[in-house]
Symmetry: C2
Subunit: 798 residues, 2 copies
């Protein structure tokens, strides 16, 4: 055993930088990326006995920028992995305090705990439903107000012939609205940008996205949603609630938080599409790494409550109190399975449409990827972001206006589709549906214009309706309502506008625009097929193809399959189309994946998030823990000098989060977290050198929970010179049985352990149980399957 003591310098690379964590992940960046793995060999500190040798062998590259709230650079290089993201810890720290607490707990209190989990999930569902309902009503009011304004203006200018003034006015007004929204996002809450799905996805993967669960973000989202009126409730994943009640203090753990975020995500989807099962599956497909029956039931409960609450309050609002049979906010009208049966020979057509959707989706993602890279490089200042958002709003309005003006697809009014007739939109908007506009709600009433009396402009029906209404009319309108040129032109224009819009500094999603694009070209396909064949009948209804097209396009962009199938099934209230929708989504995914990743994955990648996929790369069995791990590691002794601990924690270049605890001959005996050490220092749980008496105060698990999740930085804790000489006994606070792997363990094996148990650190030991390294999330996320086999990403501090 003598040979072990020769190793003097043990240090480690940062797991996560605890202080840069509050930085904003989105849309901040500049040109040059940091070079890789800087902090990998930080200063080494190794303690044997009382001897504390601080070897400053390697250069200290203190990233002072990262200590400020907002780092100025973000890597736009795809081959980088950011070190700034912290991990969540789903592993239970079974230290002595925990065991003591558990011993004190009766059988009854476990029951209570379980019940209060259900209550929290119920509350999450309730609040989500309530907020969704609130958004619905506010949006309704805004739409109503806008309608009054647009009506007056159009009446005024159509008579006078100065329609261009009308255009300019609305462009300006729209831009102003978008400006307000984007200012909020760009200056105050960058996390609120985008659809919120990538953030939730990362969170459930185990990455601490700062403030993703905070009320402020939610509020911003809600405000934004009211202004922008896009697929809002997807983002209503309120989990901030749980912190308001002291009785729920037991839930101050990452595990519980993750569970509640899952529930919130499910509840959000559930409320948005009236799809409780789809919500649960969404949450599971995107997030949960392991399936727990009770958890799933709770998530399902939250989803159900959410839909229920939404419907209940909407029923009150619509003066039909108590009628709960409404669907969610966004619904595409019920497909009648009787009249719209599909036949076997249509299946190949559906598959072909799936392939088209995959191709278009890949194109969309590719363009958006380039655009986002451009934005990260050049549009990282908030004011630029706001200007871009306004520009998009203005261009969108102008293009739309022009399209309508020059399109002469006038359809007679006498057909039997009064419900979809755009001039009646306002009356309907007051009764039931949620009006999602793509920054141009106001134009939905111009549609009668530029056509003769008794006719309406079908381009306007598609373009200037709320997207959700447009989708519905594309699904359900009588054959012949749209003419092919209009649909083609519409698809083309809208495709590029939607692509430009996604990723702006506004809370805008991609769901509804994708569905609209898909529905448009899907209906186009249907019409063309109808023209090709002479048999009529089956081909007569292009609405079916619009549905398939919508599924294909959305699938091609976001690449979800199971949950999307169920969401579509629930949103259309039809079970029959499950099989073709699934086929289409599968095809779209396979085709799309051949070219480029899904949109959310692209955005996650562009932010250099250390995202863990479902499985380790297939060909990585030859990589062992020895090659993957960070080594050397900063270890602590079981009874450690306070000064040493303070020094280790204060070291800015190596902001480790987990420290293996060792006994005399470097044998592993536990693992302790930075957060725990900080709490210990704060409460001054020191043993005096004489070791004669313990400290007065006995810490409890409650003290650790109270500090969660915003542990103070080490700088804020004052430790006097005398105290530095004291010792700290880590025995009862450390996790005495951390999961370990031998050095020869293959990467997939470590990965499986890590992913299945939601770990933050795996200690690598040699065959004598001595610490040789530490595997963290970033070590595993570094390896991924590239075009030419296994690739290794580089780590950067940004």
């Amino acid at each position: 055993m003598a040979n072990i003591t020769k190793k003097v310098s043990w240090s480690s690379r940062a797991d996560e930088s605890g202080l840069a964590g509050e930085a904003t992940p989105l849309l901040n960046g500049s040109e040059q990326p940091r070079h890789s793995r800087q902090p990998s060999g930080g200063d080494g500190i190794f303690q044997i006995g009382r001897l504390s040798t601080v070897d400053l062998e390697e250069e200290i590259t203190s990233d002072e920028e990262s200590l400020r709230g907002r780092p100025k650079e973000i890597p736009h290089n795809e081959k980088l992995l950011s070190l700034k993201y912290e991990s969540l810890d789903y592993d239970n720290i079974e230290n002595q305090l925990f065991l003591e607490e558990e011993r004190r707990m009766s059988h009854m209190s476990f029951r209570c705990l379980e019940i209060s989990r259900w209550i929290v999930c119920g509350l999450i569902g309730f609040l989500t439903g309530l907020i969704a309902c609130g958004i619905d009503i506010v949006v309704e009011k805004l739409a109503g107000y806008k309608y009054e304004a647009v009506k007056e203006n159009i009446e005024k200018y159509t008579e006078a012939g100065g329609l261009s003034i009308s255009l300019v006015l609305w462009v300006v007004l729209n831009s102003a609205y978008v400006m307000v929204g984007s200012i909020i996002v760009a200056f105050f809450e960058p996390v609120a940008a985008g659809s919120g799905i990538p953030q939730i996805k990362c969170f459930l993967n185990g990455i601490k996205i700062p403030r993703v669960v905070r009320l402020k973000v939610r509020t911003t989202h809600i405000l934004m949603d009211s202004l922008e009126q896009k697929d809002a409730p997807l983002k209503v994943k309120s989990t901030s609630l749980k912190r308001d009640f002291k009785i729920f203090e037991y839930f101050r753990r990452d595990t519980e938080k993750r569970d509640f975020v899952s529930a919130g995500a499910a509840a959000g989807v559930s409320a948005a599409f009236g799809a409780p099962v789809g919500g649960v599956l969404f949450s599971l497909e995107e997030g949960a790494s392991f399936w727990n029956q009770m958890l799933t039931w709770r998530i399902f409960f939250a989803s159900m409550i959410s839909t229920f609450t939404l419907n209940f309050f909407l029923s009150i609002h619509h003066k039909k109190t108590g009628e709960l049979s409404n669907p969610g906010l966004i619904n595409f009208g019920t497909f009648d399975s009787e009249t719209m049966a599909y036949n076997l020979y249509e299946v190949p057509l559906f598959i072909a449409m799936g392939a088209i959707g995959g191709l278009l989706g890949a194109l969309f993602n590719f363009l958006n990827n380039c655009l986002t890279m451009f934005r990260i490089r050049y549009v990282h200042r908030p004011c630029l972001q706001v200007m871009e958002a306004m520009l998009v709003a203005a261009v969108t309005a102008t293009v739309s206006f022009t399209m309508i003006y020059f399109c002469n697809d006038c359809q007679p009014l006498d057909k039997d589709h009064t419900e979809e007739y755009p001039l009646q939109v306002h009356t309907h908007a007051h009764t039931h549906t949620h009006t999602h506009t793509h920054t141009h709600t106001l134009f939905s009433h111009v549609s009668l214009l530029f056509c003769a009396d008794g006719q309406y402009n079908s381009m306007a029906t598609a373009f200037f309706n709320t997207p959700e209404r447009s989708v519905r009319s594309l699904f359900h309108n009588q054959p012949g309502t749209y003419n092919p040129q209009t649909l083609g032109l519409f698809t083309l224009t809208y495709f590029f506008l939607a692509c430009w819009t996604y990723g702006l500094a506004v809370s805008a999603g991609v769901f509804i625009p994708s569905l609209l694009i898909g529905a448009a070209w899907g209906r186009l396909c249907g019409i063309l097929l109808g023209q090709l064949s002479s048999t009529g009948k089956i081909w007569a209804d292009p609405g079916k193809y619009a549905l398939i097209g919508a599924a294909a396009q959305l699938g091609g962009i976001v690449r979800m399959t199971l949950s999307l199938t169920v969401i579509m099934m629930e949103a259309t209230g039809n079970v029959t189309y499950g099989f073709p929708i699934m086929l289409v989504l599968m095809t779209a995914k396979i085709v799309g994946d051949y070219f480029v990743e899904g949109l959310y994955d692209i955005h996650i990648k562009l932010q250099s998030v250390p995202f863990l996929h479902w499985e380790a790369p297939a060909t990585s069995h030859w990589l062992t823990a020895r090659e993957v791990m960070s080594s050397p590691v900063t270890c602590l002794n079981r009874i450690e000098k306070v000064g040493t601990i303070v020094d280790i924690l204060s070291n800015t270049s190596t902001s480790h989060n987990g420290f293996p605890v060792v006994v005399q001959p470097a044998k592993l005996c536990g693992l302790i977290l930075r957060s725990q050490l900080i709490v210990l220092l704060k409460h001054k749980v020191f043993v005096e050198l004489a070791r004669s008496r313990l400290t007065q105060r006995k810490l409890q698990l409650k003290d650790f929970r109270d500090a969660y999740p915003r542990f103070p930085p080490i700088q804020s804790i004052h430790v006097s010179q005398d105290e530095r000489e004291c010792m700290m006994d880590l025995t009862e606070f450390m996790n005495p049985t951390p999961y370990t792997v031998p050095q020869e363990t293959s990467l997939p094996r470590v990965f499986k352990l890590f992913r299945a148990l939601g770990l933050r650190h795996v200690v690598v030991v040699n065959d004598e149980n001595k610490v040789v390294g530490l595997v963290t999330r970033k070590d595993l996320a570094r390896y991924h399957m590239g075009k030419h086999g296994l690739e290794e990403l580089q780590l950067a501090q940004t």
Copy 2:
């Protein structure tokens, strides 16, 4: 390190008895249970270096009975855990052979592997659909034939007045049918008894239920289903397919097998209820311990293909080729959400009904539990089982006949429910639906009898229709079709008959009978509520309450929530009722769980299966691996004498399955399985004592796969005396990095590791990485939450 060598005798308790595995788990037993943990301290063998010390210190309790195919005893004591069940091993053995094979595999072949997994899932779905379709058609034919017979007979005897002869005739005929069925089950394939769900549940939990995936069982099930006509396709979980194709040889692993069984289970449910999503959720809720996105998609694919195939072939059979919009085999008719909206004030009523369902379910389970205990004790001979089955058939027929005869609930024929009118059943049976009879299909046409002309007997409608049809008529019939007394009497009778039927030696499920009982009392509740209130309108439709009642009853018996909600939603084609159904299922589960476990869990428990639940008991943190593990363990050296290995494997009292491999000072360096050792012995992979040359033949992974899953017993391998002196080098065959835990690890922590990774053995090591014990499935399954806190089950060899 010197102190370690003092430990001379290491031995271990059996993980699983490899040879008794083929024994039949169901309905074989006699009075006295074995006393517990017999083999726990078997003979110890510990090898250091070349020295082989065989210490036969403890008495050898060779259970010779267990070596025969059919053990004569089964523990009926609930506090026992049987040792005869083997575990499945979901952990990948990453030995050198594996790594070599992987290195040879190109990126392309990984793709091919993935694609062939999809193909297998597709085939599973296809076959399941095909079989379901076959069952449907055969049952249809049988029903048609029976109808002809019953018609003749009734015409003959009604005129003559000798109805009792008619009764006797049909009782005899029914019993004969049941006899054929039960003989097949009792004498040839006991695994085919029951609904098949407990078996699948155990398999997915990781317990090797012999022959559960074999074609013979499937065939029996199909035969049985044709005869018994109960909820058949639930059991059509064909996975035997995969073994027929040599190209799929890579799938000869427990992991892959488990995945395909999951897919088969999902496909079965999907075909039965036309509920592909419900099928996936069923499979996940009952089985999968961890969620893998790709796996879930494949399962979903299989489900979808299954429903698709079924509908396609049914559409051909019904001469409407290509119309794919049909639902599954069992469907309850579509609920129209417009007319059957529910209101807020109904929610408490639904919850109350859920509670009733929970109570009735608990009663059902309690009675069935007692009955099954009785059966295990006294009705374990096949001939007795057949006789009991026949008795049940006869009693059922008689009771039904009597009930109809004495019930005078005659309803006028002129009402508007011609579709449900029983005399027209036969015409409908020929067109579409699957006729599930509860051994009394024949009587469905007697219903006009015992009533005046122009009237029909409503008791007969409920009782002598096919159960599925009865459920549908209870759901959808006009208010006033049934009178309360009839429903009450029907519920009461059917409840006890169904309770008696479940667990017979026939392939009979509990789904449809439960739904029927629930629908009956649910409708009764609806009618009573309608009578209590004067407002009418909302209460006017008792069909809604029948649906809620059905959900409550089924939930109270089987205690599923999420998947059942979705299955009910899909089977009724209605999304609106999702929320109340979920509430009701939750309530039923909570209320029911207060009294007694779910029916499937009871049957699993009665068979003493070492079933692992989702989580370890809540209060078990104080239990450590040291207390849980089996110790001492039989260890092997890395280079071990062949004779020693043969002796260890031949030792009947300790039929271990996993052996830690150690190097000189008892340090863990790997884990090897019995099956691997047997393959090695069979191929004589020996190193001669001189160690000069290796064996001629180099083994490949293929050799191990070829032997899977029926490895020969050690007795069949002849090892000569010379060969006994040879050595065997285990280095390249053992798993070099088995998962280990330190001795102090708490039970929940070991449990989590075990469950999340699907392990079969966890090696317990001390702080010097020396083997001190082994934790297997049975060690973990022993601890469970009883009424008075943590309880420990006992292990028995039976």
